[in-house]
């Protein structure tokens, strides 16, 4: 499915390592299964040849790793950024979270990443090998003699189905062709929820959030959540909590987390990707994005470095909090 190949990336990384442009490479490393990909640092060409992988399961957003890694490496880090990753990259730069000089960013095209859960939903458990062949994927499992042939687009991750941009907004070098910002339907699901009654919405979220186990994966994977110390982990913050003791705390954590990243969330979708309970957390973030677009004008976090997010800005003509509802009620 991906247009750029593992070999091309290894080739690029090897050159940059060899000519001294970078001292290490942040890339994906293959695990036991084709979908089992771990972010890793590669220091030598040998390591790259041995373990580097690029396939339809390289979804992890590397931007956040730069916050920690740039302080620990001498020389530059080569990072491969998919278009959506570049927005997080810029947003982190806006917030001064890492030193741009320590990074060599190579933009790579992305045709959308696959969701292993969707693959398994079609092909069943026991996935042994996944191959790609243009628009098709071949999936070999324990339980079928012949590999199943499935459409790659049928197993696209939700965030990739609603991809907002194939354009890289930051890079030092671009591999492959540059894409465009896409008209996506990413707010449709939010709009659907908005159209429900308050009771229905409450029931929907109660059901979704009740599954939360507060593993913090959403927060820890989120490239906007880079606080030195999260308020929920800080015993002196007064709001520290470790577990979703009841439905209030489930909501508190997710409302506040979404609020804290409002205007900073680039909608990269990592939160929902990593949730072990399949809670559609992106629908909280997208609600804020949709609202702010509608209230204060279109704003895409990370589109440029140095932008001022809607919640740290104002105009004297802004709508009143009460008008938020009037608006919707008259629209309806």
């Amino acid at each position: 499915m991906q247009k750029i190949t593992r070999e091309q990336l290894i080739d690029k990384a090897s050159k940059l390592l060899s000519n001294g442009t970078v001292s290490c490479v942040l890339g994906w490393k293959l695990g036991d299964f084709d979908y089992d990909v771990t972010p890793a640092v590669f220091n030598t060409v040998e390591e790259l040849n041995e373990g580097f992988v690029f396939n339809d399961f390289c979804g992890a957003n590397f931007s956040k790793y730069l916050v920690a890694k740039t302080g620990k490496v001498d020389g530059k880090i080569l990072v491969f950024l998919k278009p959506c990753d570049t927005y997080s990259f810029n947003q982190l730069l806006t917030e001064h979270r890492f030193d741009r000089e320590k990074v060599y960013a190579v933009g790579i095209p992305c045709e959308g990443m696959a969701d292993i859960a969707k693959v398994k939903a079609i092909c069943g458990e026991g996935v042994l090998a996944i191959g790609t062949d243009g628009e098709k994927m071949t999936v070999a499992t324990l339980y079928s003699d012949e590999p199943a042939l499935i459409d790659a687009k049928d197993v696209l991750a939700e965030r990739c189905e609603n991809c907002k941009s194939k354009k890289h907004v930051a890079y030092d070098e671009l591999l492959g062709e540059e894409g465009d910002v896409i008209e996506s339907n990413r707010f449709d699901e939010v709009a659907k929820l908005e159209a429900m009654s308050a009771d229905e919405r409450f029931a929907f979220w109660q059901n979704e959030l009740s599954r939360c186990i507060r593993c913090n994966a959403c927060r820890d994977a989120c490239p906007a959540c880079t606080c030195e110390k999260c308020v929920f982990d800080n015993p002196t913050s007064g709001v520290e909590n470790k577990s979703p003791a009841n439905s209030f705390e489930e909501k508190l954590f997710h409302i506040i987390r979404a609020y804290h990243v409002a205007g900073r969330c680039t909608d990269c979708g990592e939160c929902s990707r990593v949730c072990p309970q399949n809670i559609p957390l992106h629908l909280l973030n997208r609600k804020f994005i949709k609202d702010m677009n509608e209230f204060y004008g279109e704003y895409q976090a990370g589109a440029e470095v140095g932008m001022r997010a809607p919640l740290v800005d104002y105009t004297t003509e802004d709508l009143e909090p009460g008008e938020v509802f009037d608006r919707r009620d008259t629209d309806a």
Partner: protein
């Protein structure tokens, strides 16, 4: 945990009438931290205050809760009481059980119940109070005035008069500003030069005032009382302290054909020039773009004729570092460019001029020596059309001009019209207007005189188009009252161009972290109550940089700004509000969100080395709040996701403790 004393006030029957004060003091006895609880008729009386002082001593109180009237009433009183008892004054919290309880509830049960809850909230808060000490900072007793127009001049004179040194930074070679270019001033018609130039001389002769002419402010650091300003003195190639202003060089300079800025380019000046006769400082300046000596190294005539030896072709721009306690912005205004208003044929005909150009044309020291002539042919104009509101009060969607009213145009146009009719009664004068706005002392009388005594033809309506045809200007206009189209063959058309803040204001505002509105006018700290203060402490506003103003208004604002500066410079030390934001550097992400919302520019960032939890050292960007500048609004605290930014006296934990106490 504090040792809290609770003091419930009866306020005579004001509180005791609807609140069972005995029950309140009894109920609060068992609250966490409370070691003493009592009630008394008038807590604010001397006897009441003594009671508090004694209790502090007797029970070793570390915190005080007074359940009484509004803190807006007596918080200061009880803080003083606490201080007198040896406590930190910020260890006092007030539960407002009068205005917000006994006075608004009728039933004694409800009133008592609520008073207890409010008392609990105050106790919960005081338990988390920490002693606060207001920060102190010294004050540099010198003021900087940026801009040397009438606003800056007046401000500087007033400050100097109070005995404080003042520096004026003026980017032109002379002070005087727009007023120096005017002919007469409304509504009294005294000549601008006659009233301005003596003030300019005063400035020059005042030993408290230094003038940095032909200079700009390039950097501002520091904060109220302690600004450090970099001033760039542009090279004028003439030694200021030696030049006598005799003008010999100006006369001998061969490069005579350079547009004269002072006369708005309506005549020429040499490469070395003194803007006008009464210029202050009266020192020549060489225009580096016009001087052949500077451009090609040939000529040097001026140097030869200068008997004082003041010419210095090698002079370089000079940067000065100066310290100030207060800064006054007086950057003034300019008429807007007429580029977008070509329907009035400004670019096509020399006989379409702006009002400021008209001032020069009628000024005795102007290009025509005060004779009203047509710039194109030097003939006397017989029909003059004045167009009001050119670029003022424009529709936002028109994409040109300004939405605001420029305020001064109605009056100066009436002045121009009246003076023209006075001097040249044979001239027909038309004024096209949207509204005539004359709210000011003797303003309306002045305008009416123009109409009634001088026969100026005021027509409500806008000029649609001006077309030069032969030596005439065909003016096509509408008369909204008569509801008809007018066609006037005019000899001269005068455009009352809107005024806008000087272009230097925006970068200056950034340097000063002073806020501006969308039109680039400086924003005042409060539109009604702090009209000459900018929201940035120590930065004051004088004149048209804050909004369109006429001279009397400018002068009064200049004086007001001066008095605020004097008030500030009189102090040896500035005592801050101790309830300021502070950042926990260990938790700060350095993301700049707090600095983005700070209205005062109180937050800056520094790179500091930290020992991290994982035993490594790391240089991190962290916020630091300047307590002398922070006003304690708390906007930053909410924008900080990690909660690193908190507000002293209204800390997150304190407010949450109040919430908890109220809701339990």
């Amino acid at each position: 945990m504090q040792r809290v004393g609770v003091f419930v006030c009866w306020c005579g029957s004001n509180i005791a009438g609807t609140v069972d004060v005995e029950a309140v003091s009894e109920a609060l006895k068992n609250e966490p931290g409370v070691v003493f609880s009592t009630n008394y008729q008038y807590m604010c009386s001397q006897a009441g205050q003594d009671m508090i002082k004694e209790a502090v001593k007797e029970h070793n109180l570390t915190g005080i809760v007074v359940c009484s009237c509004s803190p807006r009433m007596h918080e200061a009183t009880f803080r003083k009481t606490a201080a007198a008892a040896g406590l930190n004054p910020y260890m006092v919290e007030i539960a407002n059980i009068r205005e917000q309880c006994s006075w608004v509830h009728k039933d004694i049960l409800t009133g008592t119940e609520k008073a207890i809850i409010l008392g609990k909230a105050a106790i919960a808060k005081v338990n988390l109070n920490a002693p606060l000490t207001p920060g102190e900072s010294p004050v540099t007793k010198r003021a900087l005035v940026i801009g040397g127009g009438i606003a800056g001049i007046q401000t500087a004179l007033d400050i100097a008069d109070a005995g404080f040194p003042v520096d004026i930074v003026e980017k032109k070679p002379t002070i005087g500003g727009k007023m120096a270019q005017l002919d007469k001033t409304f509504p009294t018609l005294d000549c601008a030069a006659c009233i301005l130039t003596p003030k300019m001389v005063d400035v020059a002769q005042n030993d408290k005032i230094r003038i940095f002419s032909y200079s700009e402010v390039t950097d501002v650091q520091g904060f109220v009382g302690n600004f450090e300003v970099t001033i760039k003195k542009n090279a004028r190639f003439v030694k200021e302290d030696i030049c006598t202003g005799c003008g010999a060089c100006v006369e001998k300079c061969p490069m005579k054909k350079n547009p004269n800025e002072f006369n708005l380019g309506m005549d020429n000046r040499p490469a070395i020039y003194i803007p006008f006769a009464q210029a202050v400082p009266k020192v020549a300046t060489i225009d580096p773009n016009a001087c052949t000596m500077l451009k090609k190294g040939k000529c040097g005539l001026c140097s030869k004729v200068c008997t004082a030896g003041a010419i210095d072709y090698t002079q370089k721009d000079e940067y000065l570092q100066e310290k100030y306690g207060a800064i006054v912005v007086a950057t003034g205004f300019n008429p807007i460019s007429m580029d977008k208003f070509d329907e009035f044929a400004y670019s096509q005909s020399k006989d379409v001029i702006t009002s400021l150009e008209f001032e020069r044309l009628t000024n005795a020291a102007g290009p025509s020596a005060g004779k009203l002539i047509r710039p194109s042919d030097g003939k006397h104009p017989h029909t003059i059309v004045f167009v009001q509101c050119v670029g003022s009060r424009c529709d936002a969607c028109a994409q040109k001009g300004k939405e605001y009213c420029s305020k001064i145009c109605c009056m100066y146009t009436a002045k121009h019209a009246m003076l023209t009719r006075d001097k040249y009664p044979d001239t027909e004068v038309y004024v096209f207007y949207i509204d005539v706005r004359t709210p000011g002392k003797n303003f309306d009388e002045f305008y009416r005189r123009a109409v009634e005594e001088y026969g100026v033809k005021y027509i409500k309506g806008m000029v649609g188009k001006v077309t030069p045809e032969g030596d005439k200007l065909k003016v096509q206009a509408s008369d909204l009252i008569a509801n008809k189209q007018l066609h006037i063959d005019a000899d001269l058309v005068v455009l009352a161009a809107a005024i806008e803040p000087d272009k230097s204001a925006r970068p200056l505002a950034t340097m000063l972290t002073a806020s501006m509105d969308t039109n680039d006018f400086f924003t005042e700290a409060h539109p009604k109550l702090k009209p000459v203060e900018s929201p940035t402490a120590g930065v004051f506003l004088s004149g048209a940089c804050q909004g369109p103003k006429d001279i009397p208004e400018t002068v009064s604002q200049a004086g007001a700004a001066a008095s605020k500066v004097i008030g500030l410079l009189c102090k040896d030390k500035l005592t801050g509000n101790p309830c300021v934001a502070n950042s926990n550097e260990l938790m700060c992400n350095g993301c700049s969100a707090c600095a983005n919302v700070c209205p005062y520019g109180a937050i800056s960032y520094e790179d500091k080395e930290f020992r991290m939890p994982d035993r490594t050292t790391k240089v991190r960007r962290v916020a630091s709040v300047n307590p002398a500048v922070c006003q304690g609004c708390g906007a930053c605290t909410v924008t900080c996701p990690s909660g690193a930014m908190d507000l002293k006296g209204f800390a997150n934990l304190q407010i949450m403790a109040e919430v908890d106490a109220i809701c339990k």
